[in-house]
Amino acid sequence: MFGKGVLKGLGVTMKHWLYTYVDDIRKIPSRYAGGRDILKQMPDEEGIFTIQYPEEKRVIPERYRFTPMLLYDAATGKDLCTACGICTKVCPTQCIWIVRDKDEKGKPISRPAEFYIDASLCMNCGLCSEFCPFGAIKPNHDFERAVYDRHQDMIYDKQALLVPLEYHAAIHPTEYAEEEAAKAAKAQAKARRAQSRRRRGSAADRKPGEDGAD
C-alpha cells in the first residue's frame, strides 16, 4: 500500500512523543536520578531527557576537562607547583606561561613567581595535568566562565588559578584517593628503605636527592 511507510514512520514519531510521558509516570516521583538537581541520564531512559539548566545541573564526570587550575595546600599555604616547566612543554597551544621564582641572591628556586594560563587559547586537552609530575595542575570543572571582555578576564594569573587541595579532592574523589594512596605507599617505601639502610649502617650508599618526587 502506498503511504504505509509514511504511516509507520509517523507511528515512530508518535511513540517517541508518548514515551517521554510514560517514562515520567513510570518513575514517579522523579526519573531524574537522585532528585532534580543532580542529573544523569541512565542508558535505560527512553524518552526525551531534558536538563533544565541553570536550575538543574548535570552530574559532571570526574575526568571532565576544562581550563586547568593550580593547587595549593591550604594547611601550609604552599603551592604544589615547583615550576618545573613540564606543563609548558606539553601544552599543545603553548598557553601556559611560568616565571620561576628567585631567591634574594638570584638563584632560581622551585616555586612559580608568576603563572598564567591564557583561557582564550587553551584547548582543554588535559595534557598538562596528565604529565605534571607533582599533581599540581588539574582540569577544573567550573565551566561557567563566560565573560564580557576577553583581554582582562581571560588571561588567568596565578591568583585566579589557585584553588585549595580540598577543592580538587571534592571534584576528583577517585583520583585524589589514588594520589593519596600512592603518596602513602611511597612514604612507606621510603621509611622502609631508610630503615634497612640504618640497619646496614652504611651511610656511603645514600644518594642525596633520590627521595625527591618523580
Binding site: T50, Y53, P54, T93, S120, N124, F143, V147, Y148, M154
Partner: protein
C-alpha cells in the same frame, strides 16, 4: 562600537529627568523582557563548536526553554549570531557581510576559544585571531568546545546584559548606528579597508633594516625576553 555600548549600559541606569524615571524603567523592563526572551539565533555554524551548538538545541538541553528554538538561516530574521568555531580569513568577508545584514538590535556571542582569539589554531596563517577584531562581540564563552551548559551560561550572561540596556540610550535609534562595517578584502592576506592608509604607509615605506621581515622581528622579541 563595543565600548560605546558598554558605556551606555552604565549610563542607562541613571535617566536624567526624574519624572520620566518610572515610566522609562517600566518601558525598559518590558522592552528588554521581550527582547531577551525571544532571541532568535542565526543558524550558522563554522566548526566543531557548531556541533555543540546543535546539541544545545537538541533534546538534552533544549534551547526552546529560552525562546531561542527558532534558528533562522537568514540573517535578516535573527537577533543573535553565535560565532561557533574557527573564523578563517577566507570565511571572514562572508561573516562580516552576514553581520551587516542582521537588523539591529543584534548581538554576537563568540563561542569557543577559536572564535575568541583563534584558540588552538591561533598561529595558523589562515586563521583570524579573534572575531572581535572585525565585529563587536557581546559575550565570550571560553572552552574548546564549550559544553552546551557553558553556552547556555553565555546566553544567560547575554540576557543579563540585555536587561541592563535602556531604550533611551541604545545605539540603534541614533543616527549613524546603522553604518555597515566595511567588509574585509582578500588580498595577499586579509585586510580591513579601514586600515588601508596604515598598510600603505608601512608596506611602501622603506624599512630601516633591509631584511626586516616578520619572522626576524618575532625572533628578536623572543631573544629579548630570554635575555631579560
Amino acid at each position: 562600537m563595543d565600548e560605546d555600548r558598554s558605556i551606555e549600559y552604565r549610563q542607562g541606569q541613571i535617566p536624567q529627568e526624574l519624572q520620566h524615571n518610572v515610566v522609562i524603567t517600566s518601558v525598559d523592563y518590558i522592552y528588554n523582557l521581550i527582547r531577551k526572551t525571544s532571541l532568535w539565533p542565526m543558524m550558522f555554524g563554522l566548526a566543531c563548536c557548531a556541533i555543540e551548538m546543535i546539541c544545545t538545541a537538541a533534546g538534552r538541553y533544549d534551547l526552546a526553554r529560552f525562546g531561542m528554538e527558532v534558528m533562522r538561516p537568514s540573517p535578516r530574521q535573527s537577533d543573535l549570531m553565535i560565532v561557533s568555531g574557527t573564523v578563517t580569513k577566507k570565511m571572514l568577508p562572508q561573516i562580516v557581510r552576514i553581520y551587516n545584514q542582521m537588523a539591529e538590535p543584534r548581538y554576537v556571542i563568540a563561542m569557543g576559544a577559536c572564535a575568541i582569539s583563534g584558540g588552538p589554531f591561533k598561529d595558523g596563517y589562515n586563521v583570524v585571531s579573534g572575531i572581535d577584531k572585525y565585529i563587536p562581540v557581546d559575550v565570550y564563552v571560553p572552552g574548546c568546545p564549550p559544553t552546551p551548559e557553558a553556552l547556555l551560561h553565555g546566553v544567560l550572561k547575554l540576557r543579563e546584559k540585555i536587561a541592563k540596556q535602556s531604550i533611551t540610550q541604545v545605539s540603534w535609534y541614533r543616527k549613524g548606528s546603522q553604518d555597515a562595517i566595511p567588509v574585509p578584502v582578500l588580498g595577499p592576506d586579509i585586510f580591513d579597508p579601514r586600515r588601508v592608509p596604515e598598510i600603505r604607509k608601512r608596506t611602501l615605506a622603506p624599512r630601516p633594516d633591509d631584511d626586516g621581515s616578520e619572522a626576524t622581528e618575532g625572533a628578536q622579541t623572543v631573544e629579548d625576553q630570554s635575555e631579560a
